[in-house]
Amino acid sequence: MQEIALKGFGETVKTVTFRIRRYDPEKQELPKYMEYKIPVQMGMTVLDGILYIKEHLDHSLSTRYSCRMGICGSCGMIINGKEKLACQTQILELGKDLIKVDPMGNYGIVKDLVPDLSNLFRNHEKVKPYIIREEEEPKSEYLQTPAQREEYAMFTDCILCGMCLSACPTSATDELYLGPQALAQGFRYISDNRDLGFNERLNVLDSKQGVWRCHFSGACSEVCPKGVDPALAIQLLRQVMTTNVFVKFKQKGTANAPERKSVSGVS
């Protein structure tokens, strides 16, 4: 049985051309494409292909990777025109003889396939991705039922790969836009019943470059490797913002809802 399953494993199935966009910061040149021919074995991912090039063909190729199994979110890149994690994309499943690999868009390029994700982390920091309470030191545990956890659990799966910002057509032209990742995390903390920081986050989320900049093209949810569905989070966040104008937003699980200081910031 095992022999059948392993049949053909380790043998070269076909040769595939990788067309990789290269950029060397030490040379005063614009990025250009370079082609490499690599033998493909069964079960070989795009990341394996890139590492093969690095080992055998061109040692100067740079990429960023860590876990090789879709957990760390380091190897996001544009493969044949769509954002994908290189470690999760099988070469044979793509079914093409030419595989075009680009670094993620809407970020700076540090070198070759390494994007400069500082913008992503800055935006993530802006929405205060931590639980905000009035007291400095917690006196006891903050209680939460499994049902209350379900209300935001899916958004905690974000691995910060940054592919949503690369796919987002709004981020393509607006540098200040918070982006799907940060907005989804904002919603995740607002809908957490232990959190009281709604008003503190309001001026960041409820701004021109915040939640209202989204046009719901759904590209972020389409490319998300963990099924976080940031587009859903943004629309639900909008619902919170619009209802907040008429009905005071009550944070679930808290005895007293936080005071609504101002809604004049709604634009």
Partner: protein, 149 residues
């Protein structure tokens, strides 16, 4: 030294490889720009009535027979399609962008197909698509024959 790698406005019109919503977004942008340009032309066209009936009639005929043939109704039909698409998708976006007709937060399961782009959102697309087709047929029929279907 890092360099910029913005996709730029050209990527608005690059919905290939993404889903239906991304296509509709690109079309919405395109139809929006087309309608904006049409509106300017429309204001210019109707303002010609200030120049008297002779000029007005001449421009009406010129617009009905551009490039020497009777293309007027075809152009008008195209504008109608553009407007109807923009209106129908606008209705959908107004509903969906307020968080209505979307699923509650759920547990993602392996193929990781986003539910916000499917389910009731898809139903809305189909229903409004049918509306769009019906309105277009009635409108185009009226443009070509002058009779209400």
């Amino acid at each position: 030294m890092t360099i910029e790698n913005k996709k730029g406005w050209i990527s608005w019109f690059n919905p290939f490889k993404y889903g239906t919503d991304r296509w509709m977004y690109a079309l919405h942008r395109l139809t929006g720009i087309a309608l904006g340009l049409y509106l300017i032309a429309h204001v210019w066209e109707t303002s010609n009535i200030l120049n008297g009936p002779v000029t007005w009639n001449k421009i009406m005929v010129d617009l009905d027979y551009p490039f020497g043939a009777h293309y007027g109704p075809y152009i008008l039909s195209l504008i109608l399609l553009v407007a109807v698409y923009h209106a129908m998708n606008g209705i959908r976006l107004t509903i969906v962008e307020n968080g209505l007709m979307l699923p509650k937060p759920y547990r993602p399961e392996f193929p990781y197909k986003a539910k916000s782009l499917r389910g009731l959102n898809n139903l809305l697309k189909i229903v409004l698509g049918i509306f769009m087709i019906v309105i277009s047929i009635v409108g185009v029929y009226y443009i070509f024959t002058g009779a209400v279907l």
